[in-house]
């Protein structure tokens, strides 16, 4: 007979492969997990499966053609990608964007935030096992997509901005529909909260899971809700205002624990703040042109700049070098928020159970199209 201390089962560390074809990795993300029993000891993140070389392509397209490449990065928040790129080029060209265009851009960006957060909420909750929330959240996301469809004709890749302004003014009656949507959305948020916020299973699965401290999150370069969940006050809309954000009142929700539950609460609060911003923008929507004075042939003077906006996922930055001679950028670099947040996955995962891995992938809200570009 074996002695009492001898293990009945082999306790070697086990390496398992998760993805790239896995329903909970939100795209083609592959994780190589080293497990000790059910605990994750180490993790390697493998990506690049949808690398399309958007940065390289951009060096060979002219300035306006790049807008539709940016749609394909974070494809659940295409309007904010457009916005970040257009603003960066406008900064290089030193073009003034009309106030009406800036207001409409803000409305579009905030609608996009609601749409993107709806998708996040639905998939995140479904990963943890709450199927109903997915159906509820997609029901509201559909309304956002309808609004975008009415504005620009597309439901996913909008191509909805131009350098210097907007391609289209809002259709007549559209603002009333946005207002109606805001009212609907406001009544639906308590439904989500009723399903999740005090749900015991939800609390067990998210509280104290994936805790990261503020200084660690800052050093790791986390951005957006994961950074704010750790109590760091950082929102590009407030710190470096762009579009028309400096004209509106809104609050930046902060977390205290830095866990998955806090990040969930923050995003829920961001729904409310987005609605608040949209209402203010609709109330104060000025008349006027929607296109600034932009030269026919875009040829920014030689120089380089970095400009960031707050996409639903976090700080989305563009670094553009113009050599002043060609009609295309010499170098275009995208600072993808999902990429930076994904880097924080390993510190979050290590020490947790395998079952929490899907929960943590959900909480950082990644889109692989943006990670890989």
């Amino acid at each position: 007979m074996a002695t009492q201390s001898a293990p009945i089962f082999d306790t070697d560390e086990l390496v398992i492969n998760m993805g790239p074809q896995h329903p909970s990795t939100h795209g083609v993300l592959r994780l190589v997990l080293k497990l000790d029993g059910e605990r994750v000891v180490d993790c390697d993140t493998v990506m690049g499966y949808v690398h399309r070389g958007i940065e390289k392509l951009s060096e060979n397209r002219d300035w306006t053609q790049i807008i539709l490449l940016t749609d394909r990065m974070d494809y659940v928040a295409a309007a904010t990608n457009n916005l970040g790129y257009c603003e960066t080029v406008e900064k290089l060209l030193e073009v003034e964007v009309p106030r009406r265009a800036r207001y409409i851009r803000t409305i579009l960006a905030e609608l996009q935030r609601i749409g993107s957060h709806c998708l996040w909420l639905g998939t995140h909750a479904m990963d943890i096992g709450a199927m109903t929330v997915l159906l509820y959240a997609f029901r509201e996301r559909e309304l956002v997509l309808d609004l975008f469809e009415e504005y620009c004709g597309a439901r996913l890749t909008y191509n909805s901005m131009r350098i210097g302004g907007l391609p289209l003014d809002i259709p007549s009656g559209w603002d009333q529909k946005v207002r109606a949507f805001c009212d609907v959305m406001e009544t639906k948020l308590p439904e989500y909260e009723e399903l999740l916020t005090n749900n015991r299973i939800w609390l067990e699965r998210t509280r104290g899971v994936g805790v990261i401290s503020g200084p660690d999150a800052t050093a790791l370069g986390l951005c957006g809700p994961p950074l704010r969940g750790s109590g760091v006050y950082r929102d590009v809309r407030k710190d470096e205002p762009y579009a028309a954000y400096d004209e509106f009142d809104f609050e930046v929700p902060l977390g205290t624990q830095g866990d998955t539950y806090d990040r969930y609460l923050i995003r829920l609060e961001e729904f409310r703040q987005s609605i608040r911003i949209i209402r203010q923008a609709l109330d104060g929507l000025p008349e006027g042109p929607i296109m600034g004075k932009v030269p026919r042939l875009l040829k920014p003077k030689a120089g380089e700049t970095y400009h960031a906006i707050e996409s639903p996922k976090g700080e989305l930055g563009y670094f553009i070098v113009s050599d002043g001679r060609a009609t295309n950028p010499y170098r275009l670099r995208v600072r993808p928020p999902s990429f930076c947040n994904l880097q924080g996955l390993k510190p979050l995962i290590v020490g947790h159970l395998v079952a929490d891995v899907v929960c943590l992938i959900g909480t950082i809200d990644i889109v692989l199209g943006e990670v890989d570009r």
Binding site: G48, A219, Y330
Partner: protein, 249 residues
Amino acid sequence: MTDDPKPAGSAPDGPAKPDAASDTPATPEPAAKPAQPPAAAAPAAKPAAKKPAPKPKAPPEPPKGPEDPAPPDDLEPPAFIAALQQAHPDAVEQLSYWVGDWTVIVKLEALIDVATYLRDADDASFDYCSDLTASDWPPREKRFDVIYCLYSTRRRHRVRIKVRAGEEDQVASVSGLWTAANWFEREVWDMFGVKFAGHPDLRRILMPEGWQGFPQRKDYPLEGPGELLLESPMEWLRLRNLPDEAEIE
């Protein structure tokens, strides 16, 4: 275009081609030009006199490097840059200012000193490495610019630092200062082939592991290396090293 052919026909003469008109004074020449290359390609020696015709088609010379415009005289750099110059007088090569952004161009050897200073000094406190990237300027001897976009969550200001590195140079890794730099540096290595000394895990990140070449370099073709490289890298390398294209069957 189809509904009014007359303005479309007249438009190219007016605003569209002022440069082309000044380069080629005689109009028949461009007409002869398309016929010329196929005939000239095979013998290659005979019509030397007709050579000037394709000149306007030649791509412009690649730029020698970024402009890095100097700040205007009446603009004072932020206090932390002045303090940095005092603390590390030899480290800063040049200051640059463009559309509201300050860039400090730093000597390659002094990168870690400057980065540490900027992170820890109280009036700078750049605790957030917002972005780290590179750009490639092939004609220059030190062909790479490695660019660090820093942000301070406490002071809420930005700065960029930049070092210039040659193909063989080792850039000191800042992943010890900002953990965020880990993946950024991996991506720069993957895309440009800039080596980072002291990086904990310098592997490719977006391209597959065995990939040959560095896609973001300017001399890397946009369409990629072609199927052959992916299927059999050794054969691709052999063909690439052949002295004459004629040896390829």
